[in-house]
């Protein structure tokens, strides 16, 4: 009796284990599957762009799709201008906040700050956009004396705000990974706390901070709603010196604003997906750059 029932008893949990393992595996692989399917769909709908529209038109400076001007250059430059400005604004603030939370803040302040930053990440972008449109834009118009407050700079301010939580939490992880012995060594050499942070801890964590910047960049370039509401959406070439304080049109805002209008399969429809492909490639390159920064650091045998 015992000899028969024992293997059955053992087999049952093994079957359960097998089922769970399979489910987890399917779950994991399906993520890859979805990414591939989305990419496939994007390519199927977007690639005809490069056959339908002459390249001179496609990479021209004039975007007016209702009359078949498909120059995506102002859109790409608009996205780049807004995103890069946002990161320039967010980087010092984000790293400073991370340093404060990790190295200087007393425990109680840290306990308050960390959840607050997570709340910051949860604010819907449309709410920020509305805030930007009704409060920030008039303030910028009056404060800087520009014709309208709906500018690339207004968008960059909001994006900086939205990229901050990402930058702070990743930079903080990086600082966390710097061994205590580094700090002890710095202080033992007679450095002040500030000197230790600035000359020892931050440089040791710089590849992690670089990752933080890259992830923030990825977050910022894909943001749509807030940007659409505050940048004015004028498809002008942002090449003059005052462009930062003039309206721009970003790739994401263009897709969001125009996708509802187009008939499926039309040239305009393909071009919008073409812009989607370009956005996808840019974010992919940013992620690749972030990964390679970490990879090189590892090969050199440094931290993280």
């Amino acid at each position: 009796m015992a000899a028969i029932s024992e293997p059955i008893a053992r087999a049952r949990p093994r079957w359960g284990e097998f089922a769970v393992e399979t489910l987890v595996r399917i779950g994991g692989f399906s993520t890859i599957g979805f990414v591939v399917l989305i990419f496939l769909f994007l390519l199927r709908e977007g690639l005809p762009t490069f056959f339908k529209v002459p390249l001179g038109n496609l990479f021209g400076t004039h975007w007016y799709p209702t009359y078949e001007f498909y120059g995506i250059l102002p859109l790409v430059l608009g996205s780049v201008l807004v995103t890069v400005t946002a990161i320039i604004l967010a980087l010092p603030l984000g790293v400073a906040t991370a340093v404060f939370i990790r190295e200087m803040a007393p425990n109680w302040a840290r306990e308050i700050l960390k959840p607050m930053i997570e709340v910051l990440a949860g604010i819907p972008s449309v709410v920020l956009g509305f805030f930007g449109m009704t409060l920030l834009a008039p303030a910028i118009r009056q404060g800087l004396g520009v014709p309208t407050g709906l500018t690339a700079f207004t968008g960059a301010l909001l994006l900086a705000y939205m990229a901050l939580p990402t930058i702070i939490s990743v930079a903080e992880d990086a600082l966390d990974a710097v061994p205590k012995s580094y700090r002890d060594a710095g202080l033992a050499m007679g450095a002040t706390q500030w000197q230790t942070i600035w000359r020892v801890v931050v440089p040791a964590a710089r590849s992690g901070i670089l990752t933080a910047v890259m992830l923030g960049l990825g977050r910022a370039i894909g943001e749509t709603m807030a940007v659409m509401m505050v940048t004015g959406n004028a498809a002008r070439m942002p090449i003059t010196l005052d462009s930062l304080f003039r309206p721009v049109r970003t790739m994401t805002a263009t897709i969001a604003a125009e996708m509802g209008e187009v008939a499926q399969g039309s040239t305009h429809y393909s071009v919008l997906f073409g812009i989607g492909i370009i956005l996808f490639l840019i974010t992919f390159l940013i992620n690749l750059a972030a990964a390679s920064a970490i990879f090189q650091k590892r090969r050199r045998g440094g931290l993280r």
């Binding site: 496939l40 102002p74 407050g149 990086a174 659409m228 509802g260 399969g265 993280r304």
Partner: protein, 305 residues
Amino acid sequence: MASMRASRCFPRVLLVGFCLFGIACVAIAWRPQPGDRAPDAAPRAERTIQNTGSDTLVNLALAWAERYMGEHPDVRISVTGGGSGTGIAALINRTVDIANASREMKQEEIDTARKNGFEPVQHTVARDAIAVVVHPSNPVNGLTLQQLSDIYTRKITNWKQVGGEDRPIVLLSRESNSGTHVYFLENVIRLGETSDLMFSPDTLLMPSSEGISTEVRQNPNAIGYDGLGYVTPEQKKVAVARNAQSAYILPSVETVNDGSYPIARPLYMYTAGEPQGGAKTYLDWIMGPDGQAVVPTLGFVPLQK
């Protein structure tokens, strides 16, 4: 933590990159052919009427739908906005019964509809004035169509050139999927003639009527335009003249009806083929006296008998 995971995965990132590149090559070879598309779904049940399109018309369409459903409790009408182009695209894809449009269908759209097996039918349901609006503090009271055209093509860039203060002009427009945008381009910027004039690239394209009214309310440099029904008291309407000799006329129901206000247009509903059943009864009701009685309450102009 995230970076730790990423670090172990770096060669995989490259692998994924290669995979995507491979897929790209496949996708280039496999492009969608015309006629590849799945056949359209069957038309919806007659009792539910789907109604989508022009943001200009959406409030009026909602008011009609509410009134009509009050009188006919067995009929459901769902109304959404999104822009004339959106509504027409939805009609072409056969996902709605009635498309609202503040412009006529383009030839390209009619051709696509025919390719999908139906002839779009146009119904004029109301008329609308397009009001030109500025900040209440702006001293400019009247503009000619020519001046409006010059302003929107950036030949005039300062308010003092049209009798205002020394301020730069900030141009506001609805997005290009809006019928109002297309109407304004063809009848104001191009003055109803065939030309290559365009909105200046400096024009701010606002995603909604609300975007225009917010900016006009706040910014003394701004000029914008929108359907008369959307102009709030915080915006100042500018009187418009056909040319320098004619009178400057403010938009209103009266000036549209007597034809003196120059920027007025019909508003349309489109159906796929002649309307049938519930949609036909509904459209007849809209164009009848009960439907038209709703029109002026929302700032639009009823059809003339």
